[in-house]
Symmetry: C2
Subunit: 159 residues, 2 copies
DNA sequence: AAAAATTACTGCGCGGCGCAGCGAACTCCG
DNA sequence: CGGAGTTCGCTGCGCCGCGCAGTAATTTTT
């Protein structure tokens, strides 16, 4: 902590993190623009295709941070664009299952794959150990962010 | 590339990246909610404090992906809330320099530091070399995203 | 000196989003 | 059973961030 060279590394890392995450926001926006969708829609498709089973509107709302009302409209847009279909849940007739349409979503995943190939070149000069370091850091940050979000919600707000 | 263990690492890294970045979106939203700001505003403050010198409205527009008109309004909001000040550029009188107000931004950085203390525990078990690996990766990804965004813009759009 | 380019700002309309409220369906008890 | 309370998805409403197009001021170019 009092180690100056380490402190400098922290500082540099903090600054780089901000640019890194800002860059991601721009990237996501560019992907959405390219597909004629909104960033939220892209994230929703990403979540839908990552899950093995269809999600309910409520689950989508939770994973995107939207209200159920906004999630309904999100699904409306995706359905109108042909990316997903609504299916009533037979177990619970209040629920609506949202299923991605494979041939339509393929256009999105194809783009991801295409971009992913280029991303690989970034990692190509890293050793396996280094890749593990990076992956581990992401996983930790991911876990921590969840608890931090919860903490933010319970913290007293300024103003 | 044909190395199976390395391919697995890539796959894992890709999946983790998506969760990592999705988590960041939610985290950023939570921070913005907590401060009573918009995610874009928070990102802008993040960028401003990450840069050593004040930025122009045009530069802010570029870094956030907004048009100059929207960037003007973004600065309007931040100025009205007291987070930044506008200063005319003496070298080029068309330009307006946007400078963060330290004591006001302190409220934001205090939150970051508070959260960052916990984040530091994530880094504490990393060696200096490992920290450098992470930082370098971010820098590279940052650079690549720029070219990828350009590629997306020139790519033929589907539909 | 005139023309072109750059920078920041402003009216206008679009649309995503939260909020509050609705009906339908499910769960829990007595 | 059956009524109260809860959950789920949907809808009308208003807010406001954003892009677009145009403008004025300043700089750069010719």
């Amino acid at each position: 902590m009092t180690d100056p060279s380490r402190a400098r590394l922290y500082e540099e890392l903090a600054a780089e993190s901000r640019r890194y995450l800002a860059a991601y926001t721009l990237f996501n926006q560019a992907v959405a623009d390219h597909l004629g969708l909104h960033p939220t829609d892209v994230q929703c498709l990403s979540l839908l295709t990552a899950e093995p089973e269809p999600l309910t509107v409520k689950q989508i709302a939770g994973m995107t941070g939207l209200t159920t009302g906004s999630a309904t409209r999100l699904v409306d847009r995706l359905e109108r664009a042909g990316y997903v279909t609504r299916t009533p849940d037979r177990q619970d007739r209040r629920r609506v299952l949202v299923t991605p349409v494979p041939e339509r979503v393929a256009r999105v995943t194809a783009l991801w794959d295409d971009l992913g190939q280029t991303w690989q070149t970034v990692f190509d000069d890293n050793s396996e150990d280094e890749l593990k370091v990076i992956t581990r850091h992401m996983r930790r940050a991911n876990d921590l962010s969840r608890t931090q979000i919860e903490r933010l919600r319970t913290m007293p707000k300024p103003g």
